[in-house]
Symmetry: C2
Subunit: 324 residues, 2 copies
């Protein structure tokens, strides 16, 4: 981060003043929305101010009446060009809300639309602490530190600096499992994902962006608790599931879905945060950081399906190719 | 409704006092949670108090910090026996929240757990105005009438009385289309649903409860706006979609998904609220009542798949048959 980026982040954090916030909205589309899920979860857990998450277009057309002065709207678009998210920022700002937007591209339309734009790094040489998830966590724990007195948030901010090391370690540790997964599942036409709590967003982005968008494999990110209220009836010996198991308070929900899936399907792949190396993340904060690590591991799983099927993750038939 | 049921509803409405409410939570599992979606939508639109919806188990384990005195928690379980929802009511009540619970079964565990239980009718002879959706709308518009001065809510309450007539008319008007659908789609292994705004819940329950649970057909309720941020890449000439199109402010989101689906798939079924007979529902309130009608129509579609496949909607392999 250069000085300007540090200042952007600091300005955004300082814009949120204790006692003046009525509610938080997390607003984006697709993978960027999924990225905001853990932040929504952390705010639900840590602060007694209501928070909600919406897809940008739903947010604009739904136009929640609680949106206005005293609202803090946190948005994200990698390119900063997603029209719905740009409009959502303009809409929220017009209503008097504080708008904070993450974008890789400085001076993008989203950058200009939001009151507080924040740059994040991306690419081979980027440090994880300065990528999208790292910067988002800096913001959300930074705001918590500013408005609530609890030493834990300062520790969380320090933990962000260790993301790069953790990503690297866990990617290496799961490389072989990912390759086996790619080989075993390469002919599947449908793979379900299961998760809950802070990890639901990772299941959602793996389903929507990696399986459906990039690999053209049918999927549904089933909430592990909701599984038992309908969807579990499609379970059979040959129906594949990826179960993402988190740490902490929502883990019992994942455990229950995992036990059931294992019992009736022969194709269950588990991404279990209890097996992650989380050295450098404080024990009491690991549940919040687990989805970030799960996301990195799952990306590698998708890479290996791509490799074994010969269908690169970069292939699209509609996206970026036409007006829609 | 007998006098006791009228009193229950009235007591629940009067428990919500203007100026004392901090936030609303809608909490249930599966189809009952889906039922609460339009209520969540209506509250987002009509009242400047934040509202959120959670699956019961997620709600309990997530334990939002904003839950407490000043929270109103609206729950539902048909049998009143869903353990997660019973626990959610106890949990919320223990935190000092007002708890209002719908159940068909009087004196069920949920009935006893909630401070304000409300009975709804069910079965062949029930009037739609006294079934789950009808009673829920009586409650939510009743509360709005109590805390906000707007003549529209009184009209909405009167409109509820016409649900039975509307259901009957629209069921009859779509009986043939439903049968054609059942015949045409009976060999499909996967059918996607698309919806947004107040209709997303109907897509969710059709996907989770009717297609996956009752018919063992794979599915995913894709938000019509999110469709373009990943999932739409699985669209192909032979991929079936049911597009639920609502009325009013979120209809442009549905339109866009519909146009795209029609362009690239030869298997698109549209449930379009603009074609519903909504006589007896005031023009400005039709968008809020449309999901209820769409639900009745979709149920008939599921009935006809069941008929053509010979797989009755009552068949289960896991639910009610074992511990899970």
């Amino acid at each position: 981060m250069n000085n300007e980026h540090i200042k952007q982040l600091g300005d955004a954090i300082k814009s949120v003043k204790s006692g003046e916030v009525k509610n938080f909205y997390f607003v984006a589309c697709g993978g960027s929305m999924a990225l905001l899920y853990p932040a929504h979860y952390i705010y639900d857990r840590e602060i007694d101010i209501p928070a909600a998450i919406y897809s940008s277009n739903e947010f604009i057309h739904r136009a929640p009446k609680a949106l206005g002065k005293g609202s803090v709207v946190i948005l994200c678009s990698h390119s900063g060009n997603t029209p719905e998210t740009v409009k959502a920022a303009e809409f929220a700002r017009g209503k008097g809300a504080i708008t904070i937007a993450f974008s890789n591209l400085v001076d993008s339309p989203l950058w200009k639309a939001a009151e507080y734009p924040i740059h994040y790094d991306w690419g081979q040489d980027a440090d994880a602490a300065e990528e999208n998830n790292g910067m988002l966590y800096r913001l959300i724990f930074g705001i918590l530190e500013e408005v609530i007195s609890n030493e834990k948030y300062g520790r969380a901010l320090k933990n962000v600096d260790n993301l790069q090391k953790i990503y690297k370690y866990n990617k290496e540790a799961t490389a072989e499992a990912a390759d086996e997964f790619g080989k075993k599942y390469k002919r599947e036409k449908l793979i379900y994902t299961l998760a809950s709590g802070p990890n639901y967003g990772v299941a959602y982005s793996f389903t929507s962006c990696l399986l459906m968008e990039m690999l053209w494999i049918n999927s549904n990110a089933i909430h592990a608790g909701e599984f038992f209220h309908g969807p579990f009836e499609i379970t059979d010996y040959d129906v594949p599931f990826i179960v993402i198991k988190g740490l902490g308070e929502t883990r019992p929900i994942d455990d229950r879905a995992h036990v059931f899936a294992e019992k009736f399907s022969e194709k269950v792949e588990v991404i279990d945060a209890a097996t992650f190396n989380m050295e450098g993340i404080d024990e009491d904060l690991r549940g919040y950081f687990a989805p970030l690590v799960a996301g990195v591991i799952l990306r590698q799983y998708a890479d290996r399906i791509a490799e074994h099927t010969g269908h690169p993750l970069s292939v699209r038939r509609y996206m970026w190719k036409m007006e829609y």
